[in-house]
Structure formats: C-alpha cells, structure tokens
Symmetry: C2
Amino acid sequence: MQLAERRKKLREELIRAAERRIESHGLSGLRARDLAGEVGCAVGAIYNVFPDLDALILAVNARTLKAFEAFVAQENANELARPPLSAVVRLVALASSYLEFAVAHHRRWAALFQHRMTEGRLVPDWYLAEQERLFRHVETPLRDLRPELDDRERTMLARTLFAAVHGVVSIGLDEKLAPMPLPALRQQLAEIVDAIGAGLSRH
Amino acid sequence: MQLAERRKKLREELIRAAERRIESHGLSGLRARDLAGEVGCAVGAIYNVFPDLDALILAVNARTLKAFEAFVAQENANELARPPLSAVVRLVALASSYLEFAVAHHRRWAALFQHRMTEGRLVPDWYLAEQERLFRHVETPLRDLRPELDDRERTMLARTLFAAVHGVVSIGLDEKLAPMPLPALRQQLAEIVDAIGAGLSRH
C-alpha cells in the first residue's frame, strides 16, 4: 500500500473510532490515547494525519452533519408520494426530523455544539460551508412563505428559525432543566414551528 | 462575631468571589484555590460552608436568575407610564430583555447553562423552584394570548417559548457559528417572537 493510501486509511479509521467514542462516551470522553489504542497506532501517528484533535473532531462533526442530511432526505422521501405540502408543513417536518435525529444520535448531535476550537483558532471555512449547506433546507420553504425577502434576509431568517428549533430541542432534551417527556416535546415543537410559520406568512 | 455569623459572612464572600471569577473568566475558570486566595481562607474552609463546588455554583447561578428578574422589572418599569401593551408586545419585550441581559452579563448568563452537577447528583428542588419562578413572567402574557389553555398546557408553552428565545440568543451570540451582528440579532429575535405571538393568537 502506498504511503498516501495508508494515511488515508488511518485517517478514516480514526474518524470512525472517534465517532464511536463520542457516540458512547460523549465528546468529553475523547482521548487521543484511547483512539490510538482502538485503531492500533501510536498516539503520535494521529498527528501525522490530523494537525490536532480539533481537526479530527471537526471531521467527525462534518460526518454527523452529512448523516443528518441523509436522515432528512430519507424522511422526506415518504412525502414525495403525497401531494405538494405547504411551506409551513415542510418547516414543521424539518423541525421534527431535527428532533428525531437528536434523540437517535444524542451524543454525536450534542458534540456539534459542545466542541470549541482551541483558544485562538478559528473554525475552518470548509466546515462553515458544511453548516451553511444545511441551512439551505430551511431556506427553501421560506422562499415560498416570504417571497418578498432578499437572499440576505432569507438566509438570516433561516438561521434564526434553526436557532429557535435548536433551543426547543436542546432544552427539551436537557437533563438539567427537567427534560420534557418526548411525546410532549414533539407536540410542543410542532406547535411552535406551526405558530412561527403562520405568523411569518401573515405578511 | 458568632460562629454562625462568621459562616454566613464567609458564604456571602465566597459567592461574590465566585461570581466575579465567573464574570471575568467564565465557569471553566473557577477553582477552589483561587477563591480561597481571594477571600483569604483555607481551601478546606470553603467546604465548611458549602458541601461542594456545585452548591457554590448554584448559589451564584441563583443570584444571576435574581439579577435577571430585577433587570426585567426595571425594563418594564418604563412601560408602566404607557397604555397597557398587548400580550405579543410584552412577549417581544421579555425576549429583548433576555437578549440584553445575556449581552451585558455574558459569562454569568452562560454559566446558567454550562454548569452540570457532578455525576449522579440532582439539581436541588430549591434551585428548580427559582427557575420555575422565572417562567411565570412568560406565562402572564400567554394567559391573555391563549386563555383556553389550562395551567399545565400554559406552563409547557411558556417553557417552549423560553427555549426558542434562548436558542436564538445563544446561537446568535455564539462565536463558533459566526455570531450575528447585535443589531441584526435584536431585529431577528423581535421578528420571530412577534411571529410566534401572532401565530399562537390566531386560534
């Protein structure tokens, strides 16, 4: 095997090992030593394929974003058979997919928000682009709901809507604030997104 | 000075020292050693007045909740001179106070959500009661907006509305996700809460 191939394989194995570790122990349970042990390499070898742990975590988080996108696509595939849905119904469905993904992959989902770059480092552009891409799923129904908004306004509203949904999901699932029973949380999330959609479309 | 008085004074001093430390360095910068140094006591003395650091942090966080309540009361005092405001306008004003408090006391506010009890410990009831009390500020306008809801439904909706507002504020101020400029965030928060209010009141 060529060196480049070996590096690529090790990189892949480390991402998968880190993903499993985050899934089972959460982001705070991630240690370079454990990963090296799991894939059978020296700790130093990790830093031959990733500049630092931040880069490895971002690679895992990018995979989580992709997994979420696949999850949304799968949920929406069922809708294709039905007549076209209203923008509000599509927003409620997106929010619901977000909640179900967070429930099914709780620790990987939480890692998206828990991870902080090492002091003084910036999140790289490629990762920001991955995040942005997800917001487009929210922008599409907003285009129907508020056709008068320009691109900048729609982008901003999509982010705000995402943030509101994220707040309901993350506080609803948070053990600290006495979590809401899941059926109640599902119903509350649908109700609030429905209200936002109705409120936004009244213009 | 009596022993009970001395303990009370030390307790007060430790809470204030921890509050200053959180305000300047964030919750993760809180160390028993630094606090003992600042108030001039032995590290062990901290544990004479608090069972553990969790208890001290909860005492600081409870003060932050009270400070937020005072902040809301002060902001609302200006409104008393004006004619009674609609429920939606009051909800928008509450959300705006929440944002301004988070901006003005960013690290103390963040500590409310960052703090996690030591594994296996539960948040004590007195602290949960303090949190609940704050939700009542959201319940009052909801009573006008959705008079048909029973107490349980209104409590749940107040929590959900808070969570949505918290999401917009926390993601909007988060450096990781490319923060929104404050004027844009203010406008977005007002717009989304206004939409929620309009959407909820359409029933």
